[in-house]
Amino acid sequence: MRKLNIAVLIRSVVDSRVPLPPDVYGEKPLPEGMISIVNPADWFALECALNLRNQMNRSQIVAIALGGEEAEESLRWCLAAGAERALRIWDRSLVEADQLGRGKAVAAVLTRSKPDLILCGDGCLDQINSLLPGVAASAAGLSYVPGVARIEKVEHGMAVVVRKLEKGKRERVMVKLPALIAIEEAGGVPSCDADLPGLIAAFTQPMPCKGLSCLGLSPERAGSRGAKVNNVMTRVSRPITARPVTPDHRLPAEQRLRKILAGGVVRKQGEVITGTPEQLADRIIEFFRSEPVVML
């Protein structure tokens, strides 16, 4: 049986599951607040690749990321988790490139390394590179299967996957390899229980980085100069004023207004509740009463 080469696309994202407070001018998020992590869906895809490799013994995994130093760290964690090789693509002209340019760069890597199966997460936590896999697949002329719940089997140059459709429907798809499969995150905490020797090896080995010229691309084709979509400005989202904390009514109107504008509103978010089982149950019932989720 031929060796199966699996490539996993890894994107570094800003952890946007926590509040990202804006700077004093309210223009952009505070840089200290933005923590770069591996896109959870991509990490899940890597775990799927590792499982797949465990099932079929003759296969190897290469992790591919596009980005600067934060991408390098993400890739090192992928190596620690068990990927055989890592490849970083970065070029100064990619900083301002659009999704088409970045997709072409990834496509160039994929056409050169000719993996049989390419995995990535479906969706991207911070939405910045969410189109990347699709664009890369089309630029490389690969089939693209998004919204995959699980991979059933990979054999004889075919992959059988289960796709999620609307209203809980599922479809089983057979796709001819090479193909790019975007896997939906199943939830749960991403584990990073890499063993220590693997971790040390991952953080001591040199990490190759390919620029556009190594990939036979030019800044005009893939970089910022070729970008058809340009970012003019990024602004933080306005907080969802779900539960405004009412300021003290005894304050003068001007101060009340300043309180509201400055932080009197709490952004809507998940809540970790603690307490005795009775208190927890009460809080959950209260939550369902106040939120229009189910009728109680």
């Binding site: 952890d15 926590v18 509040p19 407070p21 505070l30 200290e32 607040g33 923590i35 905490v189 990073c192 709490v266 978010q269 809540e271 970790v272 509740i273 603690t274 307490g275 005795t276």
Partner: protein
């Protein structure tokens, strides 16, 4: 009283499935002062009718006050798994 959980909502946590501090409630029942209820800066210890205290590890700030203050040795205190627990961003 200040509801500290409202403030902890702004902090970044990565929760482990396993609690990093284990409380031996048998020993807690013998405790006379129950100082952990008030000493914990994250309100992780709550009063409980049967055991005296009830510990929730989720909001823990890993400061160690409970460990230092407990004189019955009721705590199996450790740091959470690598990368888990609270991650400060502005401290």
């Amino acid at each position: 009283m200040v509801d500290i959980s409202q403030r902890l909502k702004f902090s970044r946590y990565r929760l482990d499935r396993q609690a990093h501090i284990e409380v031996d409630y048998v020993k807690c029942r013998r405790c006379t002062h129950r100082a952990c209820l008030t000493a914990c800066p994250a309100q992780c210890y709550l009063a409980h009718a049967e055991n005296g205290v009830l510990f929730n590890y989720e909001g823990c700030l890993e400061c160690g006050t409970c460990y230092v203050i407990c004189d019955l040795g009721a705590l199996k205190w450790n740091y959470p798994k690598g990368g888990c627990g609270v991650n400060y961003r502005f401290a």
